[in-house]
Subunit: 207 residues, 2 copies
Amino acid sequence: MRRPEGTVFVVDDEPAVLRAIERLLRAEGMNVVAFASPREFLERHDPEAPGCLVLDLSMPELDGLDLQRTLAERGQARPAVFLSGQGDIPASVRAMKQGAVDFLTKPVNDTELLNAVRHALARDLAARAKDAELAELRRRLALLTPRELEVLGQVVAGRLNKQIAAELGTVEKTIKVHRAHIMRKLQVRSLAELVRLADRAGMAASP
Amino acid sequence: MRRPEGTVFVVDDEPAVLRAIERLLRAEGMNVVAFASPREFLERHDPEAPGCLVLDLSMPELDGLDLQRTLAERGQARPAVFLSGQGDIPASVRAMKQGAVDFLTKPVNDTELLNAVRHALARDLAARAKDAELAELRRRLALLTPRELEVLGQVVAGRLNKQIAAELGTVEKTIKVHRAHIMRKLQVRSLAELVRLADRAGMAASP
DNA sequence: ATAGGGATTGGACCAAAGTCCAATTTCGCC
DNA sequence: GGCGAAATTGGACTTTGGTCCAATCCCTAT
């Protein structure tokens, strides 16, 4: 079973547990990188590499929740599967509210962990795909001049060229030229596509 | 503080807890309806009334999770806040995965419960608003004839009238008429609006 | 000062879309 | 058999949108 679909970053301060989990995941053909502490993870991991987390809840210095939150603040959030020894309910609830994929209690059931990790990897891939798409949209929008952005806003708001011209204090002819430039730069071939692109990129339509 | 924003349906088999929660919520000006058992709730509650749930996790016959799932199957899901006595972690995780707003342990902290309930009510209102909007869109789409739906699909796919005519084996003139009918029936005044309406209603664009 | 990009505009046209009025054709239903 | 909605089509225009070629005007960086 090919599984180059991302890496599983495991962080646990108990060496025995860390090795056991690493072995389990590798046996399934997954790419695994193990860290003995949150600090080590923060220093060495590659935020660009696709993948998910398997975090021990209670660790010295920074616990699993803190680590998860820290990554989120850096814009490096990843789907996480939490493991806890005796962990309390409030912690599990907090983890889930924070977007955890699952929260398992030790001793961990292998099947449950594998399912949770597969879900987490899938979620990360989906999130990265969405991010990539959004980045591509913004990259294209960045090619537009300020004026073209104004015109775009009016166009996707459903205004006619004539109305846009009046609004922007110019003539219809000019708007047509801007429109043509917009279509070319954004690589869309129909108004329908243009509207979708603008909406997905989160353009605020100003009345 | 006016709070006619939905009702809080409380279900707990312990009379003392039920009364205490009811009193707490009413003191905040909330509309509350208390039920001593899941069965009673299923028989008497109004699925149309906006509002959220406060569910005891462990109850005879049907526990809180079962009740939540049963409602979901009936298409009557509501945001729920769970309360548990000694509850285990797996139960709390399952509840959160199922979409619970929060999962609190008894004895419940009043402030936490109130905050959770407020979030749940807000979430229900938002969900109902979205549902209502979607229903409105579908209501309008239902006014279209089968042919008009075909044309709509092609239009929002960015096809020209000429192309659509060829595709549907008719002439451009006919397509124009259909388009005019579509715009009128859907109450949109621009192609941009039409595209958004179709997309939000989840129209699959066929190539 | 000078090149180059951005914003604008003209003119000339062509293509696409929308409108008004009118007329058939087809089909399921009473 | 006939009614009424749906689907179609014509004709005659008007409005909009798009394209080509060409030409200013302004501002910034070299």
